[in-house]
Amino acid sequence: MKNLMLASATLALVAASAHANEVRVYNWSDYIDEALLEKFEADTGIKLIYDVFDSNELLETKMLAGGSGYDVVVPSGTFLQRQITAGAFQKLDMSKLPNIVNMWDVVSARTEQYDPDNAYSINYMWGTTGIGVNLGKVKEALGEDAPIDSLELILNPDNMAKLAECGVHMLDAPAEMIPMALKYIGENPDSQDPDVIAKAEPVLSAVRPYIQKFHSSEYINALANGDICVAIGWSGDILQARDRAAEADNGVEIAYHAAKEGAQMWFDQMAIPVDAPNPDAAHVFLNFIMDAQNMAAASNYVYYANGNEASKEFLVEDVIGDTAIYPDEATLNNLFTTSPYAPKVQRVVTRLWTKIKSGT
């Protein structure tokens, strides 16, 4: 087994030296302005190979298996923390990252929870987990004063029973949904205590019959096409659905709200795997991304906030002026973060999630 891995590592090395001027980036799907990728190649002369994924779990499995062949990957906060512990990443060489001065201390302070001293990662984007609604259909089902900015909309079975007809999708991500349910019943959303976590089960099971699908990316299209009327999802994804619907001009009007009771804040961090074939080029890529104008271009395209203070002046009003993306001070203080579950607790969480989803 070890020999085999050695052999494959050697192969990877050979492959790396054969393509020294190449950088392989593994990022979330629909998460960058593709023009930036061309700009990177033109500016640096480094060939960029860009792959995408749509779940942290998939990325983590590749990282833990080792030999992924990627130079830059983008895990979210809790996943990053666990992968750092497992020894999956290398420390950043700050001397190669002059643009690090552009970063925003408000975000850096929060990401230190996952990556102490931000030694292994830089922030790419951050956002909230909240509620996306098809305004027309939701108001038709619940009336003009539907609580579209409250957890009441999605966790109160009375409301959900009326929404089931027009379709509700929920993220297939227990680490997002369980804290949300705990917040709704006034428990600590970041609880690591299996007894407290168990309290989320009846809350979610009560609305389970009204949920059409648990999925972490399909809701963008489904919401934009008008196939569903409510999605519990990530801020930028829902805002993308809003824009796609507006472009299609299909009469679908989408709105996003972080729940007023408090919403989870998450961070997608760029890091360099410990066995990256080309760490030098990876640093060049990170530095390119931290350039104020490049980062602004990415945010202007994907509708997510970034952790780059200097980029703010280049952001379009649609992004910097939208409190769904850059929340005001009061909302910002109301956002919470979570920490990774220990393996035993993780098992409890996954099992609970299976029980909620399948009733078994």
Binding site: M1, K2, A88, D227
Partner: protein, 296 residues
Amino acid sequence: MRRAALIAVPYFWLLALFLVPFLIVMKISLSDGALAIPPYTPQLDIAEGWNGLKTFLSELDFENFVFLTTDDLYWKAYLSSFKIALISTSLALLIGYPIAYSMARAAPEWRPTLLMLIILPFWTSFLIRVYAWMGILANEGLLNQFLLWTGIISEPLTILNTNTAVYIGIVYTYLPFMILPIYSALEKMDDSLLEAAEDLGCSRTSAFWLVTIPLSKTGIIAGCFLVFIPTLGEFVIPSLLGGSQTLMIGKVLWEEFFNNRDWPVASAVAIILLLILIIPIILFQRNEQKQREMEG
């Protein structure tokens, strides 16, 4: 000598692509999970030689298999997969047999074209075909729009993300695997046997049941196994077309691996799935062998 070399090729194939991976998975299923790369212990350290191997072996145990018996989720998932595979296989047989039959009865110059039509969908990626079904079955999809337009229904039917969609997807995907072996059995059938049956006073229907069906039995059995075996471990179709109430072992395996990051338990689930599959596979092999003997 040449004979030995000839036999060595398939055995090497079996060793490299079945036995070695199986032993690796078996080894992981006896390990413990860990937060490391790779995420399980113990690792075999060859540098430590014989003693290293002994400590390595002493750290392996059947804990993960015992764990599987403590939670009824796993048995329910195996059973539910079994049920879905059984129903899908029956549906594929019911639809596939008449198709294969009419192909075999068609004029000989038409047969290659018909055969081509069965194989043609394989030219498109399997994943794209499943995605196409998502577009067809969605609430605002082609099927519902058509039915609404004809006035057969007044409200869109919810098919996507239900078990119905899973059955449609599985039967659609595996239907050619049912049709082809049945067709090949029927095509070889000697028509004079049917004429003889009718001469001896058999009606056309009873000739079908007494002559055609028994003669196509090998094709039916081969087709059923070719549909049943991959369906049992199916993951892609239920996760794209199914809803969250669709419980299948492939999905449970995925969750152990990706959500719990528990490679050892995931491997134990896979080993048991393999053991369940080995029984029909052995039956299938025996059937094939019998068929060969009959022909030889």
